[in-house]
Symmetry: C2
Subunit: 144 residues, 2 copies
DNA sequence: CTCCTATTGCAATTCAATTTCAATAATAAT
DNA sequence: ATTATTATTGAAATTGAATTGCAATAGGAG
């Protein structure tokens, strides 16, 4: 594992921005443990580690971390956005349980074909896709 | 067109709730013209028609209109939720232009197969899926 | 018509997200 | 090293979608 700090540093430099310890802390925290996360979770974990970083700085940096391809929007739930690491991981989609919140990742190769065909039919230049399947997980479907 | 008011009325009655003119106004407005919409758009259109309904009532009723299957969440954009009519329409997904906001609907039959297979492999009971393809529309892709 | 209480409009509130601002510090220039 | 420039920060204020409290109203059962 690794490379994400370097990717981010060169991205920042190329944009004429500045590398700061706060930025490195955020990247390090995301890639230490967080697969899916939200801003408050990230903030609380940084705080627990002794970081003095503010939420404002996290909010300000997330768009940059997305732009350089390290993370992306995952889903909107409970009135706020959830993100996920994508650097070093293959593209995947999510099954989400609407009862317990469990998230299962899956990869499906057919999806790429659909994307290609639909884009062609509608003359779109695709940047990304996001397939979210919602329902009840194995545990929750028996309790409904 | 037609049927949505009746569907909503019997849904409301079955729940032991009350049918009100405000609720009927909202349903009527949604099904008069709005395919995709957000709360403010709905509110402004109702106001323009002379309705005295409050935004609070719209916000309070949307979960009920979703629950009875007339509309559903479509996507989250510009810091607020966008909805769409589903009653009387077939299931479909969206291509969305990240430059001009254009939305194109499409139907793909393969998607159902993916859904079924993925659900089986992960022991999920699927309720819904949402495939959003983002990119540049025909006009915008030439301007990038 | 009467009663019960769901629903409403309005205003206050919540909270994720953004922005303002003065202090700080990263980087380039000297 | 020192200095100059200005991007970045934390703290606090602000925004705006969405929710909630409350008193007045009105749906609908009996
Ligand atoms: Mn994921
Ligand atoms: Mn649609
Ligand atoms: Zn579950
Ligand atoms: Zn476009």
């Amino acid at each position: 594992m690794g490379g994400e700090i370097e990717v981010f540093r060169s991205f920042i430099s190329k944009k004429g921005l500045r590398n700061t310890p706060e930025r490195e802390e955020i990247i390090a925290e995301i890639f230490s443990d967080h697969n899916h996360f939200d801003v408050d979770e990230l903030y609380q974990c940084l705080k627990a580690r002794g970081s003095k970083i503010s939420k404002a700085s996290i909010y300000r940096n997330i768009p940059l971390i997305i732009e350089c391809g390290l993370i992306r929007d995952a889903w909107f739930e409970d009135r706020h956005m959830h993100y996920e690491r994508i650097y070093g991981r293959g593209h995947h989609c999510h099954l989400r349980c609407i009862r317990c919140g469990k998230v299962v990742e899956f990869v499906d190769n057919q999806l790429k074909d659909i994307e290609t065909r639909v884009a062609l039919e509608n003359d779109f230049h695709v940047i990304d896709h996001r397939l979210d399947i919602t329902g009840y997980c194995s545990k929750c479907k028996t309790m409904e």
